[in-house]
């Protein structure tokens, strides 16, 4: 009995966000020759992003496998759809003044952004490796283009080239991994992989290769090497997207694989342990010596990937420990991704605004005296930095807390301690930025320059992210309840 060629309506509901994102992306492309007003596209893209995000609730209502089990609509995927959709909407808002300032085409940018978001959405819902691969490529290829979007800038082009070459390189690994897993298990459906012999070296190797590919995407050391360059060179709103969106998607897939495939969960914990430690140190130590804020934030996002990997180590440990429940560890990952995405987008948006035309003012020294010149901006950036640092009443604190908790509950005390040490190193460079903003006098050039304007869209982004950061830091209950609902975690197992 052949499956029907016509997908059922339910199937469409389950991929509604992707459909909407792709649809709006296409729509924007179609309208591009006819509409000159760039704000119109902003509006359209925002509508699309938000619509897709909002309607992911519908796909959540039709929980279950779709398209013959290739994708799965569950709370988990809804969560990630909400996340990447919100990220996309925020990036749209943040990009509007940026594109205008840098005189870049708006329509294509938004279209690519929406396609990339759709790719991430696919990644989040994928239950099958090929679908995941296509989703990954959607987001990746769009990302390559976005990274090089400032064509006139040497750095932007270089960023795109590095991202593209190394990204494809890693994708090849990922793909090879899929091939081996397929060879070892005869299937690419995640939930059928249990059939394979978990002791099979081929399966191990395949999963390792997949891990390598994903680690590249989430910038885990020693695959993090591309991150600072690409982040620095890419247009700043794109950097904001990179640090939040694709990472979330990749982590989503990683969670699915390493929570679902039995062979993948068995004693993989050392790999995550080592990767986590390396990543944390690589990010934090690298950030210590940075003078460019954008680059510093890039290193910091490496470090945060490391923290998330700590939770992964806990996840894998828990699943290998028969009595343990990995629930809190999953929750830690998810919560962290939310809090982190919010903060990073906010921070990069400010960097994007302060950077000025041509992104000339990226050095930390350019922020000297910001506390006096633009107190609200400085306060907001400080809030983000403190959240990254993990100070209480910010989202970052709870994020870190849950990871610590997951690590401690998995008896990974030393990992927790190493993470603590890294938090302290991190505190140093985040705090240094705050110090510069508040405790240094501005340079003569910056003092003479007019105040940086913050258009309404950017203010909206900042308002949303800042309030979200505080909200998650003060009352994380709702988000936690959502994350911890049994269907979300149970859906994975």
């Amino acid at each position: 009995m052949l499956p029907s060629a016509i997908p059922t309506p339910e199937d469409f509901y389950r991929v509604l966000p992707e459909v909407l994102w792709c649809g709006f992306g296409t729509l924007i492309m179609l309208l591009q020759p006819f509409v000159k007003n760039r704000h119109f596209f902003t509006f359209l893209a925002l509508t699309g992003a938000l619509l897709g995000t909002g309607l992911s609730v519908i796909s959540g209502a039709f929980a279950g496998p779709g398209f013959h089990g290739l994708i799965e609509s569950d709370a988990f995927s809804v969560f990630f759809h909400l996340l990447v959709g919100t990220v996309a909407a925020l990036v749209v808002l943040a990009a509007d003044p940026y594109l205008e300032r840098e005189n870049l085409a708006a329509a294509e940018f938004y279209a690519l952004l929406l396609f990339a978001t759709a790719g991430m959405g696919v990644l989040a819902g994928a239950q099958e490796l090929l679908t995941a691969f296509v989703g990954l490529e959607m987001s990746s290829i769009a990302s390559y283009v976005l990274a090089g979007y400032r064509r006139d800038s040497l750095k932007s082009g270089e960023s795109a080239m590095k991202y593209f070459l190394l990204g494809s390189f890693a994708t090849a690994f990922f793909l090879y991994g899929i091939a081996m897993v397929y060879g070892a298990t005869g299937t690419t459906l995640l939930n059928q992989m249990g059939a394979g012999n978990p002791q099979s070296n081929l399966l191990k190797l395949g999963l390792a290769m997949i891990l390598i590919g994903l680690c590249f995407k989430v910038a885990a050391a020693p695959f993090q090497i591309w991150t600072p360059d690409v982040y620095e060179g890419a247009p700043t709103p794109v950097t904001a997207l990179f640090s939040a969106g694709p990472k979330a998607g990749a982590f989503a897939l990683m969670l699915r694989i390493f929570a679902t495939v039995p062979a993948a969960t068995h004693l993989w914990f050392w790999a995550f342990w080592i990767l986590a430690v390396l990543t944390m140190f690589a990010g934090n130590l690298g950030a210590l010596v940075q003078t460019n804020l954008k680059r510093l934030l890039a290193y910091s996002s490496i470090a945060h990937a490391g923290y998330i990997l700590v939770a992964f180590a806990a996840v894998t440990y828990m699943t290998s420990d028969l009595n343990g429940s990995a629930g809190p560890a999953y929750a830690a990952v998810l919560f962290y991704l939310v809090s982190y995405a919010m903060v990073k987008i906010g921070a990069f948006t400010i960097v994007s605004q302060i950077g000025g035309a041509g992104e000339k003012h990226l050095s930390i020294d350019d922020y000297a005296g910001l506390g006096q010149r633009q107190p609200w901006v400085a306060a907001t950036l400080s809030l983000f930095l403190l959240s990254l640092l993990g100070l209480p009443i910010t989202a970052g604190f709870f994020g870190k807390l849950y990871i610590f908790k997951a690590a401690v509950e998995s008896h990974l005390i030393w990992l927790a301690v190493i993470m603590a040490v890294n938090s302290v190193i991190g505190a140093y460079y985040y705090f240094r930025v705050i110090v510069v903003m508040y405790m240094r006098e501005p340079s003569a050039e910056m003092a003479a320059a007019p105040l940086v304007r913050f258009p309404i869209t950017v203010v909206l982004v900042l308002l949303f992210t800042a309030l979200g950061t505080v909200w998650l830091g003060v009352a994380p209950n709702q988000v936690l309840n959502f994350i911890l609902q049994p269907t979300l975690i149970g859906g994975l197992r």
Binding site: S4, V145, A184
Partner: protein, 171 residues
């Protein structure tokens, strides 16, 4: 040695030689041609395995379209002989050694896991009739894998869009 095996070895040798040639050719156009050799050799192997449709696509799309694109770009950019710089110390001896190590390990692992391959259709490995195979392929693409297939259209759209954005020269 069976004829199939012989053909396999010839094609395998061809592909490896092509790959090596890709590496050692100085001019990109030569490298591109070497890659085409590899692709053709692989297409032959696909045929050997009975995957005619894939072999055809390999030749037409890969060897034809994509590689032509490469050659076109090489010509467009008027790329000359490869500049032989060695700025990266990492990519010198240690890099090559590491790459070889990786290759060796992967090859050894897969070679030794012969018994671990999942087998579904018996040991003969014969794929049911080629004609039906293509038909089944289309069935699978449009039924089982309809969703990713639709997604690839978006992917192509992205690629077009990207190419325009990147290569488009304003005025």
């Amino acid at each position: 040695m069976s004829a199939q095996l012989l053909v396999f070895f010839i094609l395998a040798a061809l592909s490896v030689i092509g790959a090596l040639s890709l590496i050692f050719q100085k001019h990109p156009i030569h490298s591109a041609l070497s890659l085409i050799v590899v692709m053709v050799a692989l297409a032959g192997l696909y045929l050997l395995m009975g995957a005619e449709f894939v072999a055809a696509v390999q030749i037409i799309v890969y060897g034809g379209a994509i590689m032509v694109l490469f050659v076109f770009v090489i010509m467009l950019l008027n790329a000359g002989l490869e500049e032989h710089t060695s700025i990266s110390k990492m990519a010198g001896f240690p890099g090559i050694l590491l790459a070889l190590a990786l290759t060796g390990f992967v090859a050894a692992t897969v070679a030794r896991s012969a018994g671990l391959f999942v087998q579904v259709a018996g040991d003969n490995g014969k794929i049911p009739g080629t004609l039906s195979s293509t038909r089944e392929l289309s069935n699978m693409i449009f039924r089982n894998f309809a969703y990713p297939f639709e997604l690839t259209s978006i992917l192509i759209l992205i690629a077009i869009l990207g190419a325009i954005v990147l290569a488009h020269r304003e005025n």
